[in-house]
């Protein structure tokens, strides 16, 4: 019985395969398909709600998967945007540094070492930062550190490849400065009321809005560690009373210590 059915199947295949599309078996098949069609349509109608439900849930799964992919892409693009913004900011800073190096206000007799700030100030116990240039780059203690905006501070510790910069805002920092317009001398220091231009005698003329620059004094035996003419800040308040010997002068520093990322270390050409 089974062998008869197998032979019959082989015969069907052979005949079907050899005959034309209008042959007898094809016509039988066509008729059979026509008979089956209502059943298929009926089954499809019965199955359609289930198929729709399956399609709906499959669509939800697909949408969820697509949502996850899009979220991942959004995160990646956000990171890229952050990196781009950071690169643009760094580019602007470096352009500023380059402009400063090429400008006439860049001190004569000094070369420079560009450096990035790699450790920011701790804040509570001193205003220091660490830069990625050290003794191997020619940096030494007490070398001045500047930004395109103005004076930043001075090198206070040097290692092979890193150095510590004590900022102007540190209480131990003191810079000899002069009023660029009147040449009134004084010392810029961080005090209880903020940055002050101290030791300005009452006979000196200092007005709000005056530019303060490094004095760069020099005697036969001693000299300031800062070259002359580096911008430091602008006077914001001037006052005096009859009791004190000196004027009360407050200033706003040019260097923005909150967003500082790159600096130049001024290295004397003839040390």
């Amino acid at each position: 019985m089974a062998s008869v059915l197998v032979l019959l199947s082989i015969a069907l295949i052979t005949v079907y395969f050899r005959e034309s599309s209008g042959g007898g078996l094809h016509q039988v098949q066509s008729a059979g398909a026509t008979v089956l069609r209502p059943f298929e349509i009926g089954a499809n109608r019965v199955a359609q709600p289930f198929r729709d439900a399956y399609g709906y849930f499959a669509g939800l799964v697909h949408a969820k998967s697509q949502n996850d992919k899009l979220r991942a892409e959004l995160d990646r693009l956000r990171q890229q945007q952050t990196q781009n913004l950071s690169a643009a900011s760094e580019n602007a800073t470096l352009r500023g540094l380059l402009r400063f190096v090429k400008s006439p206000s860049f001190p004569a007799g000094y070369s420079y070492v560009g450096a990035h700030i790699i450790v920011q100030s701790a804040g509570d116990f001193g205003q220091q930062v660490v830069i990625d240039a050290g003794a191997t780059s020619g940096v030494r203690n007490f070398d001045p550190v500047v930004s395109p905006d103005g004076l930043v501070g001075t090198i206070t510790k040097t290692e092979h490849n890193v150095s510590q910069v004590t900022l102007l805002t540190d209480e131990t920092s003191a810079v000899s400065a002069v009023d660029a317009r009147t040449q009134a001398p004084g010392i810029i220091q961080e005090g209880p009321a903020g940055m002050s231009f101290n030791r300005v005698t009452k006979d000196q003329r200092v007005n709000s809005g005056d530019l303060l620059i490094t004095s760069g004094w020099k005697t036969p035996t001693l000299s300031s560690i800062y070259p002359p003419g580096i911008p430091i800040g602008r006077v914001t308040f001037v006052g005096q009373n009859e009791v004190d010997f000196y004027k009360h002068v407050q200033l706003q520093l040019f260097a923005n210590f909150q967003s500082l990322s790159s600096v130049l270390v001024l290295v004397p050409k003839h040390r």
Binding site: M1, A2, L5, V6, L8, S9, I10, A11, L12, I13, T14, Y16, F17, L25, V28, Q29, G32, A33, L36, F39, E40, A43, N44, A47, F50, R51
Partner: protein
Amino acid sequence: MTLDVAKGAALVFVAVIVQVTLLSDINVSHGAPNLVLVVLVSVALLRGTIYGAAAGFAAGLVVDTATLQTLGVSSLLLTLAGYWIGRYGETTGRDRTHAPFLSVGVVTVLYSLGALILHYMLGDPASAQRVLIEALPFALLFNLALTLPVYALCRRIFMPPPSGLEEVRLLG
């Protein structure tokens, strides 16, 4: 006997209609469940070689007719499958719990292999990688998942009615 044939014909017919209208849509890596094959294996296990071969032949004819494929290809494969599983059921497998699963697993693999060879011989585009590596594992999983409910249903449909002359165990 006539009632059995009618039941078998109806079952196979419904299986083919469900297969070609609904189950062929479920497709994972080209692998789809084959309800006709699972029904055939169940019927053959329960009813033996002749019944299995005849059911396979009929199911194959309906499948090829509905799908407008080369007439006889499915018939040949399903006839052989029905016969062999029927023989297995008649000899050793019928009362064993694992028999339906083992039969469905083996038949699914052999059916895929046989279909590949037949289609290759007929000049149809047949990719062994697609059929045996990509599709077969999923088809196997689908068919094994269908085995338990389908076999239980078939067993219920083809269960012989109580004759009143049940076997009794004599005590003492």
